[in-house]
Amino acid sequence: MRPFTYERAASAEAAVAAVASRPGARFIAGGTNLLDLMKFQIETPAHLVDIRHLPLRGIEDLPDGGLRIGALATNTEVAAHPRVKREYGVLARAIVAGATGQLRNKATTAGNLLQRNRCPYFYETSLPCNKRQPGSGCSALGGVTRSLAVVGTSPHCIAQNPGDMAVALRVLDATVETVRPDGSQRRIAIGDFHLLPGDRPEIEHPLAPGELVTAVTLPRPPGGTHRYHKVRDRASYAFAIVSVAVVLQEDGTGRVAFGGVAPRPWRVEDAEALLPSGPAAVVAAAFQGATPTAGNAFKIPLAERALALVLSEGRA
């Protein structure tokens, strides 16, 4: 790790001011992704502002029947919350499909959403990577691409969003709440929270320097049958090759989002409207315009099979 200074923030306002006022400053909470990247010197913050002790950890009912999850609630705390288990099952299922018991005890809700997109070449510092070093080129194109994105990519980057939790939050129509350095608050729809790479793959979310995620809110429970199916190279502790989150209603309509296939959780509302026509129609529409490589084109038929499996279970 490169040297850095460290402070523990006394309040959210102080934390935001500390990060906004110092170039190279970063928030740290769970740290499981940031510290890993700092050890590789892929992330080199000059100053860390520890927000772990701020009062942003609670999970509380909202007056409209929804749920407000504090930014610092751990993955374990969210997955074990009685209402999440009972009414937002797809979220509990997605969280426990990701990482490990040890990591889920440390990883926070906001940190999980802000984990960096994954690519072996992003981690390999001896090779060019537009995300790690803007303008240096993409080593993945023409390289080993099995794990990487097939849709929503650009000629500059094909890294995949590795999240499981975020895929469930996408089908649940979650909203991310933040506070900005000027003290104002804003609400960002989860569908707008992860940016496509375009020609700036180093920018993965719309947050301004010092802008702090304070909570994730869920609307009223959608009802229906909740499923999260993850296809991976080993049975536990591996990133998704393809995952699918589904909330299915009795009339055959529902919501569908895919993970492991794109730079962000991949939900196409026009595609999920085709659910009554079956998985092939949904996947054809959801992956329209996909630009897979020879090494990862298998993900599209795999996504169709994963969805078919989930739908057959959901109706059983």
């Binding site: 850095f4 499981t32 288990k85 018991g101 536990s236």
Partner: protein, 179 residues
């Protein structure tokens, strides 16, 4: 409170934490992980460094009662925390039930992963008790039963390169069956 930049040194922090029931105070480079603080500064070498990236589980310790990877946490972030390592779980003359079960079931060969396995197993039993679901859980709203698939899923982040998994699973199941 962790005090940043003590004595004007770039990245120096003072950390006060409780380790195995003892209050400890450390003056550290801000880059020191909890794992290195335990091993190199407090000389509690029971906790092991394997991959140093959260992949292998050898560094698993309990912080405020829950298991984490000590390698993926800065010591500075644990000011005020209560840490339990393998040295604090039991002693040679007064073993923790999970330690005794590992011996009874021959649940190790070289022993390098064992402290992490045991800390992890102790936490798994508490997680099951608290109703924390896993990927192997059937009904999310029913009490969790620590059957073989649950146990293997929950212990999957503790790698044993000697391959003592079947005996590790038997040792943990033995303790779980008694509680």
């Amino acid at each position: 409170m962790a005090r940043a930049q003590a004595a004007g040194t770039m990245g120096s922090v003072v950390v006060a934490l409780t380790v195995n029931d003892e209050r400890r105070r450390l003056d550290l480079d801000s880059r020191v992980t909890l794992l290195d603080a335990l091993r190199e500064h407090l000389h509690l070498t029971g906790t092991k460094k394997g991959c140093d990236h959260g992949h292998c589980g050898a560094c698993t310790v309990l912080v405020n009662g829950v298991r984490i990877n000590a390698c993926l946490s800065l010591a500075a972030m644990h000011d005020g925390d209560v840490v339990t390592t393998i040295e604090g779980l039991g002693r040679p003359d007064r073993l923790h039930p999970v330690q005794a079960a590992f011996i009874a079931h021959d649940a190790f060969q070289c022993g390098y992963c064992t402290p992490g396995q045991i800390c992890s197993a102790v936490a798994v039993l508490a997680e099951v008790e608290a109703g924390v679901p896993s990927h192997a859980t059937g009904d999310l709203t029913a009490p969790v039963t620590l059957d073989t698939s649950e146990l293997r899923e929950r212990m999957s982040a503790n790698i044993c390169r000697c391959g003592a998994y079947s005996n590790i699973a038997e040792a943990v199941a033995d303790v779980a069956g008694r509680s």
